[in-house]
Amino acid sequence: MPQCKECKSFFPVPENEWDYEKGAGDCIRELRDNKGRYWHARRTKDEMDALKCTDYKKR
């Protein structure tokens, strides 16, 4: 079962950061809409099940 930590978009939150928690990561994706592109970060966990995520891209 793939997990977030194996995904290209997963960036672990460094230990010295305020929002660090064990396993916490940023899911960072480049997104586009009719007004242009932007980079979006949402909170995720390294062991989160990536099976249902349509954006999963293996590293």
Partner: protein, 854 residues
């Protein structure tokens, strides 16, 4: 006489080759040809700007949809901490949100930070109450169906905790019903969740949050030491418990804001190091450099003091996003921007000692800020959205003025901000210019050029008049009274490190001007919109003498204003007790010193208790003049006949209506009506002063203005004796003559305005329309306008703002809106994109009398 050297300098700064033509004309043509923006970046950002304005209460762009991220995280935060003290709950909700919220950075941005899950998303505030939440949830144009059930569950959860439930308990059912109609005044904050705040940015820019956290920690330590000191002193120690809680809440919030800003730092670095940036406007290398610099800035501010202009702009923006978009939704973009940012501009652009940059780069940064404001999505209640068409929100910053010793406070940064506005051509944020003849010519010329481009801003406020008023009526010391900035559209508020201003609770809110007249004629019953007893019982108007009529009007003013002030302070009480904003408190030196929340108002240093008439009340003046003229002086009609005609909305009484329309009208320098205006405004000032809100024994001051309620509330205001029919626009501004009824020219308007008790009035809005041919296309425009401004200033008028737009252009824009996206008009205290206005609002602007100057 205008100086040629000044004109040349401005043309050079703006990179305009005039070729002997008027500057305004060349700028206009350039904009049509090349589009707004002084650099490839801002041209790109303008083209893809995510405008988020509303028209008719609806969001104009279909892409704007709600998100429940904030509401969800705040609900989780509240559930997890429900047993805590209210101010700690507020801090913990903010902390939970900032830790877990999504963030994003858009291409080409130089200033980063947003309050929503994705661009174009609206975030909701369930802690306000059910009414506004349900209005959004049930609107399927903005709420995707999959969010509805979750949203409704949140509404259920918050019912017992919301601001509505905290406030409603203090009202009797009758008052509650009257307030809720919106017929006699603005509905309560807890119904539409509309409020505003002016954060004291200066303290964060100068100190950085880390220093302020240490300050709170020291305060907590000192308080703990104090309570351990022998012998026990209950009187002194008791209040310390509440203060300790407040300081702890401030620190939870401030630490969370630093952490959240650093999430942006992390994101910027990850983008720079991991993503393909090759199609950036300046190329991949340049964008990577910019993103790494953004990463560096966001790691340092707002934790640390700002060093240069880039730090200051970013730190200010972060504070704005949190204090006015996340912790609470608060309208406004209040600041004395040139004064606030001057030390950082000087360090970066002039001295080049910190974050060195060119003047052109500073202009670009301000253009980026303006575009960022244009993308701000807000979720105020429908009543407020309806009266604010064509904008996202009331975003108004202030510039200029003099210091307390009479020295010009305009700097090169003032000019840079005005130049950026000229370049980027956005309607938001609007600008208010603190006008004094002592302000230097270059700045005044730039103000004029913005007006001549048709922006409708800067709106002009009389610096000296407002300096004096702030000292005399609010008791501010000269150095504070000199540095006022508009809180929202029209009312000056203090700026500086201990000066948080609020509206709706302390200042702001308002009663409907024309309603005090129409209610006096109907014994307080509203037969036009709500079918309810909204005003006071003042008797059968068909039997009124002239004196009875004046007395009835006065009673209606008292009744309606009583409800408003009662509502304001109930809200203020509940906000302080249950819905504090600890981060906003953390920004203010006084709140930190005293250990009190942002809504605490006892012993506040610079109180500012004021409230509006909006729409403005000049209709009442014209009504009274028409009645006096035809009923009591000429005796051609009886009161009973007039009431019949009004009841019929003048249908079948056209001849009579024309006669009432021909009675003396305000704005024509006619003492017959101007004396009535003077009486009306003096009575209103007396009534306002009699209402003594917390913290200020001299009583409240008055601000007559209109927002765009003069159009949108036309359906709520019955037919008026001066000749207006139900549904038609009322008088705009606070003292503007009725459209088309000022027939004696601009000086006569100013003379009528000058006969009002201006020294007692905190702000009163005057809208004027000037010809494009003179203002934009003539070399003598600046001189003629300057002469007009001299008369205005000599007459001690408070305010004036101008529309400079051709009727044919507005008509063309009505027919082919897609070709006129850039067309901006002044509506009231703000400027709007013309194509986003309702047809009725557009027609009202077209119908304003175009004054001939010179």
């Amino acid at each position: 006489m205008a100086s040629a050297a000044v004109l040349e300098e401005i043309s050079r700064d703006l990179k305009i080759d005039r070729k002997g033509q008027p500057l305004g004309k060349v700028m206009w043509e350039k904009k049509i040809k090349e589009g707004p923006g002084s650099t490839p970046r801002t041209k790109h950002l303008y083209k893809r700007c995510r405008w988020a304005h509303t028209a008719g209460g609806e969001y104009v762009r279909e892409d704007i949809k709600i998100s429940l991220e904030r509401a969800r995280l705040y609900t989780e935060g509240h559930k997890a901490n429900a047993g805590e003290l209210p101010i700690i709950i507020r801090a913990k909700c903010l902390e939970h949100y900032l830790k877990n919220c999504s963030i994003y950075i858009q291409d080409e941005e130089l200033i980063v930070g947003s309050h929503n899950e994705y661009p174009d998303k609206l975030e909701l505030f369930p802690e306000g109450g059910a009414k506004n939440m349900m209005d959004y949830l049930e609107d399927d144009t903005v709420t995707p169906p999959e969010l509805y059930d979750e949203g409704v569950k949140m509404v259920e959860y918050w019912k017992q905790w919301s601001l509505s439930s905290r406030c409603e308990r203090y009202f009797d059912p009758e008052s509650l019903e009257k307030l809720s109609t919106g017929v006699i005044g603005e509905p309560p904050v807890w119904a539409h969740f509309y409020t505003s705040a002016c954060p004291p940015y200066q303290s964060v820019l100068e100190d950085g949050l880390e220093k302020r956290i240490k300050w709170c920690e020291d305060n907590i330590k000192n308080a703990r030491d104090k309570i351990k000191t022998f012998p026990w002193r209950g009187e002194e120690n008791f209040p310390l418990f509440e203060k300790i809680d407040a300081w702890e809440a401030m620190n939870i919030s401030a630490r969370a804001v630093i952490g959240w800003a650093r999430k942006y730092s992390r994101l910027a670095r990850i983008i720079a190091e991991n993503f393909d940036l090759s199609d950036s406007v300046g190329g991949a290398g340049q964008r990577k450099k910019e993103l790494l610099e953004i990463a560096d800035i966001c790691a340092r501010v707002p934790a640390e003091p700002a060093r240069g202009l880039k730090d200051a702009m970013q730190s200010k923006w972060f504070c704005f996003v949190v204090a006015q978009n996340i912790e609470r939704y608060c309208s406004g973009y209040s600041q004395l921007e040139d004064n606030l940012l001057w030390p950082y501009y000087k360090a970066s652009v002039i001295d080049k000692t910190a974050q060195p940059m060119s003047r052109e780069e500073a202009v670009e940064l301000i253009e980026c800020e303006r575009l960022k404001v244009c993308e701000r999505t807000v979720t105020k209640g429908r009543w407020m959205r309806i009266i604010h068409p064509g904008i996202n929100d009331l975003h108004i910053l202030s510039l200029g003025g003099l210091d307390e010793n009479g020295n010009d406070m305009c700097t090169d940064l003032t000019d840079v901000i005005l130049e950026a506005a000229l370049n980027i051509h956005t309607n938001e944020p609007s600008i208010a210019f603190k006008y004094s003849p002592k302000c230097n010519e270059k700045t005044r010329r730039l103000v004029y050029e913005c007006i001549s481009q048709g922006f409708g801003f800067p709106s002009i406020k009389n610096y000296e008049k407002n300096f004096k008023h702030s000292m005399e009526y609010h008791g501010w010391p000269p150095e504070v009274a000199a540095r006022w900035a508009l809180v929202l559209c029209m009312a000056p508020g203090a700026t500086g490190r201990r000066s948080t201003q609020h509206s709706r609770n302390e200042g702001g809110s308002g009663i409907v001007g024309p309603a005090v007249g129409t209610m006096a004629l109907s014994d307080g019953f509203d037969a036009w919109f709500s079918n309810k007893q909204c005003g006071a019982h003042t008797g059968d108007a068909s039997k009124f003498t002239w004196e009875d009529l004046l007395k009835a009007v006065e009673e209606q003013i008292k009744h309606n204003s009583q409800l408003m002030f009662m509502n304001k302070e109930i809200t203020s009480y509940a906000e302080n007790k249950w819905l504090e904003s600890p981060f906003l408190a953390m920004m203010d030196d006084w709140n930190v010193e005293e250990g009190v929340g942002a809504f605490h108002r006892y012993n506040k240093p610079y109180t500012n208790t004021w409230a509006d008439y909006y729409p403005g009340p000049v209709g009442v003046v014209d009504d009274l003049a028409a009645i006096k003229y035809w009923v009591f002086d000429k005796k051609k009609y009886t009161m009973a006949q007039l009431l019949e005609a009004l009841k019929a909305n003048w249908q079948g009484y056209e001849e009579m209506r024309q006669e009432f329309l021909s009675a003396p009208k305000f704005g024509n320098d006619d003492d017959y009506v101007d004396k009535i205006a003077n009486w009306f405004f003096n009575v209103s000032c007396d009534v306002w002063a009699a209402h003594k809100m917390v913290g200020w024994e001299k009583g409240a001051t008055i601000v007559p203005q209109s927002v765009s309620a003069f159009v949108t509330l036309g359906s709520m205001i019955g037919a008026e004796p001066f000749g207006r029919r139900h549904g038609e626009p009322t008088h705009d501004g606070g003292c503007s003559p009725y459209m088309g009824l000022d027939k004696k020219g601009p000086t006569a308007v100013l003379k009528s305005v000058s006969k009002l008790p201006n020294e007692r009035i905190k702000g009163i809005q005057l809208n004027q329309r000037l010809p494009v041919g003179l203002m934009r296309e003539s070399e003598k425009g600046f001189d003629v306008w300057s002469a007009y401004m001299k008369t205005w200033h000599d007459l001690n008028c408070d305010h004036v703002q101008f529309n400079v737009v051709r009727t044919e252009d507005m008509r063309s824009a009505q027919k082919e809106p897609e070709k006129w996206e850039h067309l901006i008009v002044r509506i009231a205290g703000y400027s709007a994109r013309f194509i986003s206005l309702s047809k009725m609002a557009q027609d009202a602007v077209i119908a304003r009398t175009e004054q001939e100057l010179g």
